[in-house]
Symmetry: C2
Subunit: 250 residues, 2 copies
């Protein structure tokens, strides 16, 4: 049901001095899950290429093999016009701070004017340094539980990618899925079921108290309405009633 | 800046037959990042307790140590009134399908009426079985890139937890952070800077073309307005001008 976004250039993901190859790989997988492909690495600690990054990327090996390596953060963001620095919220720098949801909306909006965007993430243990943050227009901070605010690197990348994908995605918030082989029951079929059931309940004495009968049948009908039955399910349930009444196998 | 949600009981997270301890640990960390604590495991493949789960949980060891183990999915959801089954979108079952964002809103809303909720996730390789899905009210499906739809287990848990946390969180989408030691400059301070700069630019001949002078000063003033300077930054910049004019060290 999801549509691949096509109205917007995905932001670049810049990992500054990432430590574990495994985290780079998991970040690459998270990127591709969200339709992002431009991975830039500033001096990964354990060198490059990385077997553990490749192994952890699952089906996102292309993101890993096309990743670009840079010596400095400045070089990694040189061609970008709008850069976000991901950090825990802090008041020690004088900067605009936004949520991933707002950043995603800004990136999508600015892409209309051909603005190239990127989001930077710092090393796992320490986060971005102030000199890296000074290269960014805006700080991006993921709102999380203040008692456990440290996100795994790939989770932080996923939070950004997820919001970017949702900002463009046209998946309806809710659908009722019906298998192709069938269709929603129409009201004639439903009323057929109701009358079949009530006929049998009259016959077996379940509805024998006359003054309770209207309430009980109305409640049962409402319960079946809530079930949003398919035409196939109505037929199945009429079979259930028939067999319960008969009381013995064919 | 984030507030720990306190108006809603967090949903339980039910991992059905999870395979790798590492994924259970990372899911636990993602849970605590999002303020979730009720982890339920249905027959984890590699047994329990799990050293690798504990190691991967980082600071979320409490979620791991308090996790409950169940023999069947039915037992794991027995006390819950509203259960979501996480799957890739599919039309092969007749069921309501919602996004994590809508599910989060439903969980928060229903908690007002004391409804206990939970979200089920299947094993890494295969996902939930149809018999497990039949125990759920609703299918939850994370909208992702259809060309790479397979989410890591901890990422899927994070997507659900993240949306639940955002549904309650009151972090403003945007703030401008100013360090405590200073405050935003007032307009008198800004105009003081403008006039200082223009005086020096007059003196050095930069504004010598009389008919261009109003446009150039207006553009410079607008540029400084956009920078939202602090009082400290105005003073710093006036020092910059003074030293540039002087042209030599003290």
């Amino acid at each position: 049901m999801s549509q691949a976004p096509d109205r917007s250039t995905p932001p670049a993901i810049i990992l500054v001095h990432p430590q574990l190859g495994q985290n780079i790989g998991m970040a690459a997988r998270a990127m591709l899950n969200c339709g992002l492909g431009d991975l830039r690495l500033v001096k990964p600690r354990d060198g490059w290429p990385s077997e553990s990054a490749l192994a952890a990327s699952a089906s996102a090996t292309r993101v890993i093999s096309e990743a670009r390596i840079f010596e400095t953060t400045a070089a990694a963001v040189a061609d970008l016009q709008q850069v976000y620095a991901t950090t825990a919220r802090s008041r020690s720098l004088s900067k605009r701070i936004v949520t991933p949801r707002l950043a995603a909306r800004e990136i999508v909006t600015n892409n209309g004017s051909d603005i190239a965007s990127g989001v930077m993430f710092g090393p796992e243990a320490s986060g971005l340094e102030n000199d890296d943050i000074a290269l960014a227009d805006t700080v991006l901070s993921v709102p999380v539980n203040p008692e456990c605010p440290s996100l795994n690197l790939a989770q932080a990348v996923f939070a950004v990618g997820y919001e970017w994908f949702q900002a463009l995605d046209e998946t309806p918030p809710e659908i009722v899925s019906i298998p192709k082989e069938t269709r929603p029951a129409n009201k004639q079929e439903l009323v057929g079921l109701f009358e079949h059931l009530e006929r049998e309940l009259d016959a077996c004495g379940f509805l024998r108290v006359e003054e309770r009968r209207p309430i009980m049948t109305r409640n049962l009908r409402n319960m079946f309405q809530r079930a949003s039955m398919s035409e196939q399910e109505v037929r199945t349930f009429r079979g259930v009633i028939k067999h319960l009444v008969r009381g013995k196998p064919d």
